[in-house]
Symmetry: C2
């Protein structure tokens, strides 16, 4: 018998819209595994009681009952290693490029408005007019005006960092048990701030702060040797 996936449905039984169930269906298909779906509604808690929780996707593979789309992906990868990999031994570079892109396009833009004046203050005199002119053009306002709201704006950064925070509850480094370039791409942004600013980017109990301390010891403590402020 193939596997059974409990799959969120609308009024039409065939309208299966859950993004998390889609992840599981695509993962099952990727591995060429036979599966049937059972239309499930939010209120059908009894149907998935054996999973010990109340949300779908729930996968039943003979005696195994697995919930949570990420756990299902990990289960399929481990239980069916001869099928096409879901995570890809050679995908590291491409996926690192995603993290790199996130560091560039989500994290850095949320950090820059907090740091502009601290950067200016640390520049060589000959660079200051260049920096002010190019950055004020980019931000459309005097640097001091952009930074004036940073006590409020830092919350935008904290929100942008939520995917990283959530990940670090599950693993020590972005790349797994030890740091790789994906970690350096993100840590580079924190070092940018550390070198020129004493402004606190994270709450004291933020798990990202613990990773940041671990990263200071990476590569023989390379980053520790640079002039800078305490995180």
């Amino acid at each position: 018998m193939g596997m059974i996936l409990y799959d969120l449905a609308g009024a039409e039984p065939a309208r299966r819209f859950s993004p998390y169930c889609w992840r599981s269906k695509l993962a099952l298909a990727h591995k060429n595994l036979d599966f049937e779906t059972v239309a499930w509604r939010f209120t059908d808690k009894d149907l998935i009681a054996s999973s010990g929780q109340g949300k779908v996707p729930v996968l039943q593979d003979t005696d195994h009952v697995i919930s949570d789309s990420w756990d299902i992906a990990c289960y399929l990868e481990t239980a069916y290693p001869d099928r096409p990999s879901l995570f890809g031994a050679d995908a590291g570079k491409a996926l690192t490029n995603f993290v790199n892109s996130w560091a560039d396009k989500a994290m850095a833009p949320a950090m820059a408005p907090l740091l502009l004046v601290d950067i200016l203050d640390h520049l060589d005199e000959k660079d200051k007019p260049y920096f002010r002119q190019t950055r004020e053009k980019a931000f459309g306002a005097p640097l001091e005006e952009v930074v004036a709201s940073r006590d409020a704006r830092v919350n935008d950064l904290k929100r942008v960092l939520e995917p990283l925070r959530s990940l670090l509850r599950k693993q020590d480094f972005i790349a797994g048990p030890s740091p790789l370039y994906a970690d350096y791409a993100v840590f580079g942004n924190f070092l940018w701030a550390k070198c020129i600013s004493s402004f606190k980017l994270l709450d004291k109990d933020d798990i990202i702060g613990q990773w940041r301390e671990r990263m200071l010891d990476a590569c023989g403590g390379l980053a520790k040797q640079s002039p800078g402020y305490d995180f």
Copy 2:
């Protein structure tokens, strides 16, 4: 002779704060490669003219001159394959977890406020009170009120998607030349919308739309068979 890295400096020559230069320094250290840094200021365009552009990091490795931190990382990985990998053959799962976390914590929260009423409209009658009650509690407002501003709010989603957009200019799928679970995690969110809503999430010329079309053909066209709306 070791390599030379042109490294942005402040007024103090030792204050090296560029996040992109940090990525390159950490990458060089990770690979245990000898390198010297040269303090560079924004206005020292002449010093790096051989790179054909005006920004650091610029790496000079004997006859090779490479700019852009990502290109430097790729160069080091290719030119020094016997040194510790920067991208990691086994890092695929951990990095996929980052993409998964981004899909959960950045993308989905930006999509949900656009879709709540469309979801409600497609639910089984018995599920509607449950959905309204739990989601109105989470959003702190009537669903109709949350969705009323979606023509403006969709811009938040478009901004959140910028890392994906930037990545897809460089590679066909998130996981590289063909889709893996990282693609499914993100595509699942788009399918969520497709199944229940005709609201347009992307501009017509958005490169993410082309990836989304390619993903419809993934896994034997699995997602195409589900009742839904045109993207």
